[in-house]
Symmetry: C2
């Protein structure tokens, strides 16, 4: 007999797990279908292991900054095997806790790949054969996987994607990173701290291409001073394993530039050129769901991909961030419970690049605001004027506020520890603070956060 659930969730990453927990806690009969591990990319192959690497190596950059300031000397040696073991144990323990939580709440867990049969039924390919699962509502939260381009395919030998890289048994002595986005930059920083010589290549003319252009320039300047070989605005013809090395060949510059077929080599290459949604073979087309170009599930203002079928997280392509998935999941469950009736509103979505430096952004960049045709003003503060930045001898960077009609609509920052300003910035953007509101608020002194205040109160200029 087929069991029918109020809600069946496809995918146990942050969005799917949070939806299942909240739905079950509210009394909905709930099932979770997961083909691999609970926790999804974020826990198993993404944000969490990367942050464990960065956290474990934080002393390296703290010490390097004070050494450059001639205040301290010393060395930090990271035991990579021990770190990997600690990471694996933490992830396994977290998965176990997640499974316990689901069991506690009475969520049925189906370990297998799910595929829609019709508007009420799903087929799950379990280890012991297919199983049919009935649903009143379906939530698709199948996430995404590392993408690649022809010639850049990870081969599992010396050319790896982020998943392969996080699973390494030994940190390579040198690393080519293809892709200067947040994933590539976080992993490159962790590798650098553990002794790898970094070569970073990107087709875009700047690092962190989705961010403010000044952010990219600041990152480039800091990483170059850390000794990275950074090649921007170049195209990659191929990355392959050759013997014990990874070999990257740059495309011949058709305009006759200098980078004609140059080869770069390293002990390992990491391809971090974006992610692709997991939408293949879900059977959703028979329910009328459609995909955009790269395969993202199209969702309406209520996050519906088809009647009775919601999609949240990476798979809908709105915002490839774990907390965006969780936030969307919360909306969907509230909607099922009749508590949310209007369209989904994300509010300002915060994003963070971890490391030293960090990048944070909430809301619009000046560029994006201008592209909307608005009159945009910006105000800014340099970290060098802040005593806490001075105390950590990490003074390069800035905070920039974007204003529209007298209200702050975006905040961007780059520099050591700037992620600590992302939550207040998100609250300010959400509330639409004016300069007067910022002035009336008591920031604690001395804090790095005062750079945000200084930026908010600084003279505004045309963007």
């Amino acid at each position: 007999m087929t069991t029918t659930y109020d809600l069946v969730v496809l995918g146990g990453g942050p969005g799917g797990f949070d939806a299942a927990v909240e739905a079950a806690a509210a009394g909905l009969k709930t099932a979770l279908v997961e083909a691999a591990e609970l926790g999804g990319t974020c826990l198993n192959r993404g944000c969490i292991p990367t942050k464990l690497w960065l956290g474990a190596t934080a002393a390296v950059e703290e010490l390097a900054a004070q050494t450059k300031a001639r205040v301290a000397t010393g060395e930090v040696r990271v035991d990579f095997a021990a770190l990997q073991s600690r990471k694996d144990k933490y992830i396994a323990a977290t998965r176990k806790a997640m499974a316990q939580r689901l069991a506690q709440l009475g969520v049925d867990l189906y370990a297998g790949r799910g595929r829609v049969l019709d508007a009420q039924t799903l087929d799950v390919a379990m280890a012991d054969g297919p199983q049919t699962v009935g649903f009143r509502h379906l939530l698709v939260a199948t996430g995404s996987r590392p993408g690649s381009f022809p010639g850049l395919e990870p081969d599992g030998a010396k050319v790896l994607d982020s998943t392969g890289f996080l699973g390494l048994a030994q940190m390579p002595e040198s690393l080519i990173v293809v892709g200067g986005g947040f994933i590539g930059l976080e992993m490159a920083q962790a590798a650098h701290r553990m002794g790898a010589k970094i070569t970073l290549v990107d087709a875009l003319p700047r690092l962190a291409g989705a961010e403010d252009a000044e952010v990219g320039k600041t990152l480039e300047s800091i990483f170059k001073r850390q000794g990275w070989d950074i090649r921007l605005g170049v195209k990659v013809a191929s990355v392959v394993t050759r013997g014990e090395e990874a070999v990257l060949t740059l495309k011949t510059d058709e305009a006759g530039g200098s980078a004609t077929g140059e080869e770069l080599t390293a002990a390992c290459a990491l391809v971090a050129v974006g992610r692709r949604p997991n939408t293949a073979d879900l059977g959703l087309d028979i329910l009328g769901a459609e995909c955009s170009g790269p395969g993202y599930l199209r969702t309406d203002e209520n996050l519906l991909a088809a009647p009775g079928v919601y999609a949240v997280g990476d798979v809908n392509g709105r915002m490839l961030l774990a907390h965006a998935a969780s936030h969307q999941a919360h909306y969907v469950v509230r909607r099922l419970l009749g508590k949310a009736t209007g369209p989904y509103v994300s509010g300002p979505v915060p994003s963070i690049l971890y490391g030293s430096p960090e990048v944070m952004r909430v809301g619009l960049t000046a560029e994006a605001a201008k592209a909307q045709g608005d009159t945009v003003l910006v105000s800014r503060a340099q970290l060098i004027a802040n005593p806490i930045a001075q105390a950590h001898a990490a003074t390069q960077g800035f905070v920039k506020c974007v204003w529209r009609e007298g209200r702050v609509v975006g905040v961007t920052a780059v520099g050591a520890d700037v992620s600590r300003m992302v939550v207040p910035a998100a609250m300010m953007v959400q509330a639409g603070w004016t300069r007067d509101e910022a002035e009336a608020f008591m920031f604690p002194h001395p804090t790095l956060d005062e750079s945000l205040k200084t930026a908010l109160l600084a003279d505004k200029q045309s963007a």
Copy 2:
């Protein structure tokens, strides 16, 4: 001829300096009278040098935590002479920038001690003789200085106050700290990181006595594991220099306990038993100003100590924090400009203990809220459940929210890096967030800040 100013400010610390700058920028004819250095205690002998010490030594605790987790090894050697030199240069450069800013804005700087002659005139004891300065409004921002008790007087040899300690040429190998408040705890942490063996003594039964009792217990547990000898609930008979040592003698326990006249010795002793206001010999009594018991200037709801005489910062005893002084100063200038008409409202005042662990608080502790006779609920989160705390292998600590009538009225936290939650917590307390508002807000993942969200959303219990 006596020059008469719209505003004369007594004292160039954070409150006085900010008031002078803002008043002059708004067009008021302004003078600043400072007997010692611009920047006051905070810049020269308080928060800033302490944070420079803690920032410069941050790698020590980051490495120690990972070493304990068996992930890293190594050592960090701080060159104390180089650190002191860097600190002195930074402070001198900041003072210079402050003087330039005042000059730029046309603020007249009188270098000398000011004393009120009558309701319109001040006498300033300048190096080249007394000078008379006229005022329409006077702002007293003379701050505070380290306090002591009989038997605990710093002698400038091996028994020092915070000022003397920050001026040391060499970090002692062992240190007795008398006083487990924020000043003593920050300095003890910096000294510990630079190799000093710490003995800490306080008459109160817990560390950080003004904070939540659980905060004190957590601090005690963490510092004890760092090897500190902590003696709480004991009274000190005397601290004196004897030869090349500081010798602290505990009071004979009248109840016949064990601590009968025990002697503790160290290379140096720091007395950090609170601060005393600088109100002596200001001549304010002739204008009708009154002082409370310990000498704090009494101020009314408009921060007036006497007709035409405002008092801000440590000297009025409302809140001995630099940012509180600046916030009060801002109010006074707005009042002089006719922009603020109602009484002074501080809003939630954030406070931070820096180091590893840190402490942060905004608004009421559960204890204080209960003492007001309210029905108080608390909700909490443990840092051990947070992935960023795990990444830094610093998992001891918690976030606690205090609720009254469904709104958050206080947030307290202890643990590594918890100061990053103080600004969002202050914004939430100021806005009086409900649980629903916290739930709707998108916190970034993974962040330590999510511990604040977890605490806000946790089940509430009687305080």
